[in-house]
Symmetry: C2
Subunit: 390 residues, 2 copies
């Protein structure tokens, strides 16, 4: 039994005495006392009121103390960034956002990130010692183990850039990096579907991608590229050249830039995806039909995804999802027609509820998951132990 | 710290004394002694020679004892069944096989299963008390939590049949049921790719299906239908009616019966898939081309699977894989052309090495995984504890 196991026991928030912990775990009392001390020093556990009296001195109670430390979750989009300060239960304490072009490069963007972490800590009257970790989502493929973006198409200057290293020069805490769709899946699941173990979040915006949670775990795949929906080949995209260099990709047919281009050809004045959404909201028939058709095209690939992965919830998010029912209806139409009855019997296909905050909340969840992981607690415990021994 | 944690520590096979176990875990010596006793009674741990002398009486050593108990793994195919008796390390002690038509119904097929379990135990001079669990793979969708087949297309009489209940009337041990492709994935991984965490096994035979291991865990999805490659829509199958009732499924185009029908149209005398393989082996050009084309069609869907799941190994198995390089070459051709460079950079697409034994070995692995799981050990420990208290 390690210190992290003791913490797992206390994580439910119920206060317990040292004697109760010794009884439940079978650990020697002295061992329990030492490990509780370590957890208190780590800020994860705190004394809690007084234990029920057993006649003599009341025994002390201890419980998980989620408010003692904080994380920052950051979502970097193509043109916009958002950040939240959260405690270890995921409760949001402060937030910030800015227009920010990811193509302006890592120095500029990460400068905003570190300034914003400072600002959020100050806002909640926290100092550096309270900060436990930082989670960051980036709009491109990320090698999760090193936190480096790999050939990200819309992020010039970021290829294999040491993002954690840069941030850690200012904040010497664990920095976890993932791609934006993965953290959106985490954020939506934690906020809306905490008991769902098989959930796929599909982002439809400048690109199209998916974050896949299977068996309760975010699945990144062997190289971290799992969920790449956008570059699946669809027949209707035959002959269309994609920004990836290949032909026939779903993204070249159904992502926001493709829709905007098609509407321009039809005479509409649209520069980007958000204007497509504006047209749909204004009831423009051509735009509504184009978005519905994009939904059907996306639905072809989602039907395959449902056959292969068998999720119980598919969440549609991203800027184009803001067009409301048109996109969703097109996706549903094809999936319910094409996928196996057993796989769709209990399948729900829904719009993102968390919306624009899914990314930053998910990045915070990624950071919290790391801080409270057995591995991180053991490492931190060993460091505290070494300090005490000096 | 529970009894299962103590077992996890001992699972590496290295012998340890009670004192060493107490030191590593922080458990009281009396607790360690009691839990080691429980593990010995469960047959999971056994005394091991003598510990190094510390001057007085030599302390006893204990270690994981994989030979003390056995499991049976059974693979039921459409027309053939195979079974292995294995110890808790997965080492095969005895095996059996028979021609057996799954369509003859559950009573007949499970009668063979229970007779065979008896026979294998006798062969290895084991009695019922040695049998820890039975794993069974079936050629159709299975609800993993209950072990019941759900609308299995080639298994008349099996729909929602209580397979574990039937087997347990003769053998009162845990009985784990899964579909055949899932257990083949487990079997191939354990035997050939023990360190690979992201592996997909694709079976190409009468049907086409995949067993998906992501992040080291077999992924069954929300309803247990994950990996259903065969009913993904492919454009070249437009207009072809599938046995599932839908149109345009991959299976209707590229599985063994479709290939046999196409070769018959071309004038060849083929009744089933194994004769297609015979023709390919005999160098029949039409058959070779047909199998290669089937490989390309399957490759279209595998390319999507690689984009979505990002495995590092894709294993091609099943009867049609015995046609050798033709099928594999067709699949590789399309996947390496279509999937993202980052996803295919380290991707290996290979033929099954374990072949026909993958299923029964995987079923044994499924049974062993259950027996050695923390949950099963805690349940068994509690039962032993209750017995001792009487």
């Amino acid at each position: 039994m390690q210190t992290s196991d003791l913490f797992e026991l206390l994580r439910d928030g119920r206060p317990r005495t040292r004697a109760q912990l010794a009884q439940v775990t079978g650990l020697a009392r002295s061992t329990v006392a030492a490990r509780v001390d370590v957890l208190i020093r780590l800020g994860l556990v705190a004394p809690y009121g007084d234990g029920a009296s057993t006649g003599g001195r009341p025994p002390s109670l201890f419980a998980f103390n989620p408010g003692s430390r904080v994380v920052v979750g950051v979502d970097i989009g193509a043109t916009h960034a958002q950040a939240v300060l959260a405690d270890l239960s995921g409760a949001v304490l402060a937030s910030a956002g800015a227009e920010l072009d990811v193509a302006s490069g890592p120095e500029r963007v990460l400068g905003w990130v570190t300034d914003t972490v400072d600002q959020l800590l100050t806002e909640d009257r926290r100092d550096l010692s309270h900060l436990a970790a930082i989670g960051i989502g980036l709009p491109g493929p990320v090698e999760h183990s090193t936190g480096r973006p790999i050939n990200p198409p819309i992020m010039p200057g970021w290829d294999r850039y040491d993002v954690p290293g840069h941030v850690q020069r200012r904040f010497p805490v664990p920095v976890l990096i993932d791609n934006d769709v993965n953290i959106m899946a985490l954020g939506e699941q934690q906020a809306q579907w905490p008991s769902v173990t098989d959930l796929v979040f599909i982002k439809v915006a400048t690109g199209i991608g998916a974050g896949i949670i299977s068996g309760g775990t975010l699945q990144r795949g062997a190289q971290g590229t799992a969920g790449d929906l956008g570059h699946v080949r669809v027949t209707r995209a035959d002959g269309l050249v994609c920004r990836c260099g290949n032909e026939g990709c779903l993204e070249a047919l159904a992502a926001a830039p493709a829709l905007a281009a098609r509407l321009r050809e039809a005479g509409a004045e649209v520069a980007d995806g958000s204007q497509v959404v504006d047209l749909v909201r204004a009831g423009d028939l051509v735009a509504v039909q184009a978005v519905r058709e994009a939904g059907r095209d996306i639905g072809e690939v989602v039907a395959t995804l449902v056959n292969l992965i068998n999720p119980s919830v598919v969440v549609i998010g991203g800027r184009l999802a803001a067009a409301g029912e048109s996109l969703l209806a097109g996706i549903r139409e094809v999936v319910y027609r094409r996928s196996l009855p057993l796989a769709t019997e209990h399948l729900r296909i829904v719009s993102s509820v968390v919306g624009e905050r899914a990314g930053s909340l998910g990045a915070a969840a990624l950071a919290i998951g790391h801080v409270l992981s057995p591995e991180a607690i053991e490492t931190a415990s060993a460091a505290v132990g070494a300090k005490l021994a000096k």
